[in-house]
């Protein structure tokens, strides 16, 4: 087991006397290379945000609803009747759509306005909640903007016009020819809220 070296240079006699210095120099050289690796690796992390953005734009994968658009575009648009409705549980509020009904095509972006008037002498806080007729048509109404996303505060006798922007998807089932969009305004009882909802706390 001992004394059999593959070649004599490997025996202890072959070890150079200045092995310490040779090693120390080598150690320093290696460490500087490794530090360069560490630094570039750290910088690589910081290079990611721009690289990622560029990559996603170059390949087009940032466009996350492209698949759906492609699927949608294979379905022809068709005419549907839209009806708008508004209810309030509170006699002090007058709430109504500006347009009662219109003819539209699936896939179009539709803008409508609702009007609300606070006839009382006090501030009213509340939120509108949507419902759909027929109910399953709701899944095909894609809202881009809606006053129903947020709680609203009305000063005494304030009148406000509020927009809804939505798309009726082309995949709407064939048996649905009329879609009713109805809002009910619920007042938040006085004292139960101290501040209007923060922006971003949206609800559909």
């Amino acid at each position: 087991m001992d004394g059999q070296y593959l070649n004599p240079k490997l025996s202890p006699e072959g070890i150079p006397p200045n092995i310490q210095e040779i090693r120390a120099a080598g150690n320093r050289r290696i460490v500087s290379i490794l530090l360069a690796v560490v630094t570039s690796s750290f910088l690589f992390a910081y290079a990611q945000p721009p690289l990622y953005k560029a990559f996603c734009e170059w390949t087009g994968i940032y466009d996350i609803d492209r698949a759906q658009r492609v699927a949608e575009s294979s379905i022809p648009a068709r005419a549907v009747k839209l009806e708008f409705d508004a209810n309030s549980h509170d006699g002090g509020l007058r709430f109504s759509p500006e347009t009662a009904s219109l003819s539209a095509k699936t896939g179009d972006i539709i803008h409508v306005t609702y009007r609300i008037e606070n006839t009382r002498n006090t501030t009213v806080i509340g939120q509108a909640v949507p419902s759909y007729g027929p109910q399953h048509a709701g899944g095909y109404v894609k809202k881009l903007d809606c006053f129903c996303f947020k709680q609203q505060t009305f000063a005494p006798h304030e009148v406000r016009e509020m927009p809804v922007v939505f798309v009726l998807e082309r995949s709407l089932p064939d048996d649905v020819n009329t879609v009713t969009l109805s809002y009910t305004f619920f007042e938040v009882p006085a004292g139960s809220v101290t501040a209007p909802a923060k922006p971003g706390e949206s609800r559909t």
């Binding site: 087991m1 001992d2 059999q4 070296y5 593959l6 240079k9 490997l10 025996s11 202890p12 006699e13 072959g14 070890i15 006397p17 200045n18 092995i19 310490q20 090693r23 120390a24 080598g26 150690n27 290696i30 460490v31 490794l34 530090l35 690796v37 560490v38 630094t39 690796s41 750290f42 910088l43 690589f44 992390a45 910081y46 990611q48 945000p49 990622y52 953005k53 390949t59 994968i61 996350i64």
Partner: protein, 535 residues
Amino acid sequence: MQATHTAGAADHHADHGPQPTGLMRWITTTNHKDIGTMYLWFSFVMFLVGGAMSLIIRAELLSPGLQYVQPEFYNQMLTLHALIMVFGAIMPAFVGFANWMIPLMIGAPDMAFARMNNWSFWLLPPAAILLTASIFVPGGAAGTGWTLYPPLSIQMGMGMDMAIFAIHILGMSSIMGSINIITTILNMRTPGMDLMKMPLFCWTWLVTAFLLIASMPILAGAVTMLLTDRHFGTSFFSAAGGGDPVLFQHIFWFFGHPEVYIIALPAFGVVSHVIPAFSRKQLFGYASMVYAIAAIGLISFFVWAHHMYVTGIPLTGQLYFMYATMLIAIPTGVKVFNWVTTMWRGSLSFETPMLFALGFLVLFTIGGLTGLVLAMTAVDIQLQDTYYVVAHFHYVMVAGALFSAYAGLYYWLPKWTGHMYNESLGKLHFWLSMIFFNIAFFPQHFLGLAGMPRRIPDYAQQFADFNMISTIGSFGFGFSQLLVLVVVFQTMKGGAKAEARPWDGARGLEWTVPSPAPHHTFEDPPAFNPAEAHG
């Protein structure tokens, strides 16, 4: 013949003055064996802390409903458990092995940068304190899970900042440790030991250390970006300012997947020493082992998005990451076959190190197979974030890395202490661990397949039975681990005298020095004997 007898690094001369004693000896030591010992003790303490947290988690999951803790606290325990186990227990344990054994295996007097080595260790306790103390600050510790995903990690309280700083410090420690290990291995081998004759444990650490210096700075970058998003108005990841939270996941897993191999590779290394020793044969397929290690290290950088199949990455991306991930199973399979072939027609004996190595082999393979199941995109969409994933990574990290660390501990303990450990206690420890581990984690596969989500303190009634079994198993497993403490203390205090080579099948330079290994070894480079080569 040799002019002076000393180390490769100039600062090693510190050892030749008057020696500090007591606590100062440990604080100022630059000796690789002392530092290795400190790493191992530190990792064991962290293992107990992290273990206690996991028992809180499992106690809460014993039955459905909320019993002992609030969901917020549950999340904090879960996060700290993972961070502490990964960065505080498993990684330092293998750095401890590296410190103790690499210089002994390659015939070097010490690590290349002995004083930096002291620093790498002493950075750990402050980081550990930051992490654990964060439980007590307002808002509590980070509760995001160890993956620290925004937007939650941007919103948490100051516990999150403490976790970020702890990660910075731990990362610095790992980087310094890795620089030391690479330099030592590349430059301090005894003349004649070329790379392809080097013990396999050194090979696994060489690749691991490269993975560390390439990936740790990336994690550091990611958490720094989180920190500036939190406090300095940047928007790398916060969508409100135009950032992208999914980008964080890409960066995190670009670090995170190499990280799992940082944990696994040194474990492979230890097993590659233990199995040949107790089979009384050379390791089968040394060269293929080396290439497999290198291949695993390389591929591990190109598979990260298998953790992100449900983030909406495009189909081509999903396919690429699926195939790339499956590719890793090839080098991993090569290793498993080589270990099995090493045992083939060997003269096997089943002392505790071998038992743990075999336990590793069987259970790690199960973990590898569940990994392949998860690699399949179509399947993973169902299993992502369920207990199936939890089962997978505990099979590879506990039954893989931890069992391998135990194999190494029992294997080298006689060399460290000069005494033989109590074999029956060791075996008892193995069998309790083996049985309770499987009771704790095997049912989690079923829970995951049935759809139980991970990281939730409460669950639906139909999951109750398997959860109860799992909790019983985990308490059994946890308490069995205290046996190690008994064994180690016994062995330190006394026991049968260990010879220089207590295992007749063991090969390598570390067995040519007396047991216990003297404070200074190989001050003159030893003769390299090819018969001792290949671990």
